[in-house]
């Protein structure tokens, strides 16, 4: 094994460990906390604000409530400690494998998402993406559509009519919206001309975010030279905005979030596919849903809001910030990326607690009649604009 391969394996292993266990899992845990706190703000309630450091266990007089920031830990602990009830009427093998099938794909898709530009340690340049492959979005869709198996199998294996209906709905819904999802990002890919997510973000850092073209290679909006070259960018904003709306809505459907949470709507299907699940198996479904939501937000940010880039031509300066021989500007980019993702996660939560739920047939109609056609037409509009400009 030569030196480069060795460095590649080591750095990839470290990146997987850090991104998954240090970044994404805590974000998932705290997005459940955010969900509960944001919903309570929206609904005029208090929400979980008690679970902190239990000093009373160690003989102190008072606990430190910490505004409930340790609630996710308590929830996780509860998930592990509760009785794992497997009803007698389920198909055991599928019942066991379904939660894993739901949670795993969401984590897998993370590997192509660029978390930051790159850092330089001990003379080695390390890109802050686990797998820098040239088919990023395709990989994401390929893996993300696998998660439907988990939900469908869960519904089927539960041997319960409500779960079954939830599983069937989920299957139909995900397949329908995947088409709109795939078609809606084609305009973006046409504009950038490539499928490598790292390069797409780099292009946005240099030439303006997809939905915020306030600067380009010739300067920012304040410069005259910007306006001489900005016509195409502003005209392309029309199809790209349509893309963004379709894509974001489809992500809602893809992650089974309100207003498209038909597979698990508690008022008619009593929880849908996860009705029969308890303890950690149930928690895995939850984990999968939130992971999917975070991946969805990450992809939206990557494709439409410049990924890790700070924008306004600041990115080269940030990337070159160094501490001795270590270039650590990539970490700042990482922070910017996470901040954007968290903003989108809060947007997801906000929507969930604001709108009612669609009916199954209305959802299908929206997917097939509105979004599918709109996304198709949008591709031609984009193509027309690009052709006109060239």
């Amino acid at each position: 094994m030569d030196h480069a391969t060795f460095i590649f394996f080591i750095s990839t292993a470290i990146k997987i460990a850090i991104f998954t266990f240090v970044l994404i899992l805590p974000i998932i845990a705290y997005s459940t906390y955010a969900e509960r706190r944001v919903s309570s703000i929206i609904q005029d309630r208090v929400g979980p604000n008690r679970v902190g450091i239990p000093l009373t266990l160690f003989g102190c007089k008072k606990d430190i409530p910490f505004s409930g920031l340790l609630q996710p830990l308590a929830d996780g602990l509860k998930g592990l400690l509760k009785e794992d009830l497997v009803p007698a009427h389920v198909r055991k093998f599928f019942f066991w494998i379904a939660p894993a099938l739901t949670a795993a794909p969401a984590f897998l898709t993370l590997c192509v998402i660029p978390f930051g530009s790159s850092i330089s340690l001990f003379g080695e340049d390390i890109k802050l993406v686990i797998a820098d492959i040239d088919a990023g979005p395709l990989f994401v869709f390929a893996i993300a559509s696998l998660s439907v198996y988990g939900i469908t199998i869960a519904g089927w294996a539960s041997n319960n009519k409500y779960s079954f209906l939830g599983g069937v709905r989920s299957c139909a819904q995900m397949i329908s919206y995947e088409i709109a999802l795939g078609l809606s990002i084609i305009p973006v890919l046409m504009v950038f001309g490539q499928l490598n997510l790292s390069d797409i973000v780099q292009a946005q850092a240099d030439g303006g975010w997809t939905l915020l073209p306030l600067w380009n290679a010739h300067g920012s909006v304040l410069d005259r030279s910007y306006w001489e070259n900005a016509g195409e960018q502003w005209l392309l904003l029309i199809p790209l905005t349509i893309s963004f709306v379709i894509f974001t809505t489809s992500i809602f459907a893809e992650t089974n979030r309100m207003p498209f949470d038909l597979p698990e709507c508690e008022t008619e299907l009593v929880g849908g596919y996860h009705t029969e699940y308890s303890s950690m198996k149930f928690a895995l479904f939850f984990l999968g849903e939130y992971a999917a939501m975070i991946v969805g937000s990450a992809i939206i940010v990557t494709l439409f809001f410049g990924g890790w880039s700070a924008g306004f031509g600041l990115d080269t300066a940030i990337a070159n910030m160094a501490w001795g021989s270590f270039k650590l500007g990539g970490l700042i980019h990482l922070g910017i990326f996470l901040a954007k993702v968290i903003a989108f996660v809060i947007f997801f939560i906000w929507v969930r607690w604001t709108v009612p739920r669609f009916r199954y047939d209305q959802l299908m109609k929206l997917g097939w009649v509105v979004f599918f056609e709109l996304a198709l037409v949008n591709i031609f509009i984009t193509a027309g604009i690009i052709m006109m400009m060239n």
Partner: protein, 425 residues
């Protein structure tokens, strides 16, 4: 009403079929297999414990895909035999049982029941007693409709609205607590009057509440009235024609939603409702959305009525001056022989009701709550029948749910706004 297309379910034949299959040793066959595999239907048992059935209603739904082809409502899981219980207790002792009929509007039930007994006795309340009872009724209407609207919104997925309405309803409970000493089981009325007059400071609190409540109602309107998803979920769902509504005996907002102007407060005024100025909202299409709009408007009208009552609240006693049949004031019982004897007799033997029969229907939040009392004289009714609006309103389910999708079932149930405590009584 001369209806030709109404077909009552043939209960006799159904019972006969059930008996035959039971004798043959197998349960009624819901899931009869057809030759065509794709034509096979699924039977889904919704309830009695299901989040959308608001209590213990059970629906046996036959599904063709997501479409309901048959609906078989099954009530009675909360049956307590209230009517039989009433035959064994004095008229005043039954008041706490009325709390548990429509437990979302206990004050209105108290009033309806005591009005029925007073009709039997031939009593007329003093003006202040009537006015306070009107306040009770309308407060109960606001509380009940708040919950009805909120729960209906939650059933179609708008959880936040539910919590907003719940906050408002909580305030009505604070008022109930101040008024009656209990938040839920109020038992505020007695035959011939009330337990006590309005407490000090109640009127001020009530006025504050009315101001806050009308603001909240507007806020909820803004959230739902033109919400695109809410409209698609509620419009043209669970449509009841005026003819059907009358044929099935619907009352309350469900009847008015179908465009029939019938409100006992206007048509058959009691408690001096004729003195107050208020409108009866009616719907156009009779769908779930119309019923929602009517509940919202009725809350506004209730606020209007309470404001008028407060503006013209007469002074004087709240109870009738019949010392032989009303419990005397406590201070007099402890000091005077005459009153002590009356207290003893009323408390042990009940009020002396004349023989006869009487029916009184009141416009409750859910519809017409009627009490039929058959008396042979003495302190207890010989027979009492409660005409509960929820029971009658639910009877239309088997007729209206088939043809809708399964997601519409919660929307329809929510918009019918029933309470199983009253339905099963």
């Amino acid at each position: 009403m001369n209806s030709t297309d109404y077909q009552a379910p043939d209960t006799a034949a159904r019972a006969h079929d059930g008996l035959k299959s039971a004798q043959a040793g197998h349960a009624p066959d819901y899931q009869a297999e057809t030759e065509d595999l794709l034509g096979e239907k699924m039977v889904l048992n919704m309830g009695p414990s299901h989040p959308a059935t608001h209590g213990v209603l059970r629906l046996v739904l036959e599904l063709d895909g997501e479409v309901v082809t048959k609906c078989d409502p099954d009530v009675g899981y909360l049956h307590r035999g209230d009517e039989k219980i009433a035959e064994n207790m004095h008229y005043n002792q039954f008041v706490p049982y009325t709390d548990r009929l429509d437990y979302l509007a206990p004050l209105a039930n108290n009033v309806a029941y005591t009005c029925a007994v007073e009709k039997l006795m031939g009593w007329e309340l003093p003006p202040r007693g009537e006015a306070v009872r009107v306040i009770c009724c309308e407060l109960a209407r606001i509380a009940s409709h708040m919950l009805g609207v909120g729960v209906c919104a939650m059933d179609v997925g708008a959880m936040t609205v539910f919590l907003y309405t719940f906050t408002e309803r909580e305030k009505t409970y604070n008022l109930c607590e101040q008024l009656t000493g209990a938040r839920f089981t109020t038992s505020y009325t007695r035959v011939g009057g009330l337990v006590r007059d309005l407490p000090d400071g109640f009127i001020g609190n009530l006025e504050t509440f009315l101001d806050e409540c009308s603001k909240s109602i507007d806020e909820i309107s803004k959230l739902l009235d033109r919400n695109k998803i809410y409209l698609t979920r509620m419009c043209d769902v669970g449509t009841i024609s005026a003819k059907d509504a009358i044929s099935w005996g619907l009352t309350g907002p469900n009847l008015r939603g179908s465009g029939v102007t019938r409100d006992l407060r206007k048509d058959n005024p009691y408690l001096g409702y004729e003195n107050y100025d208020f409108d009866i909202p009616i719907g156009e299409n009779g769908d779930s959305y119309d019923r929602y709009l009517i509940r919202m408007e009725e809350m506004r009208q209730s606020i209007r009525i309470i404001r008028q009552v407060l503006a013209s609240l007469p002074d004087g006693p709240v109870n009738i001056a019949d010392s032989k049949n009303m419990l005397p004031a406590k201070d007099k019982v402890l000091t005077s022989m005459e009153e002590l004897i009356h207290h003893f007799i009323v408390a042990t033997q009940g009020i002396e009701a004349p023989a006869g029969e009487v029916y009184f229907g009141a416009e409750n939040p859910k519809g017409e709550l009627g009490f039929y009392i058959n008396s042979k004289g003495g302190g207890v009714p010989h027979r009492m029948k409660i005409r509960s609006p929820s029971f009658v309103n639910l009877s239309i389910l088997a007729h209206m749910i088939p043809g809708h999708m399964i997601s519409d079932v919660p929307a329809i149930l929510g918009s019918l706004d029933f309470v199983m405590g009253e339905c099963d009584r």
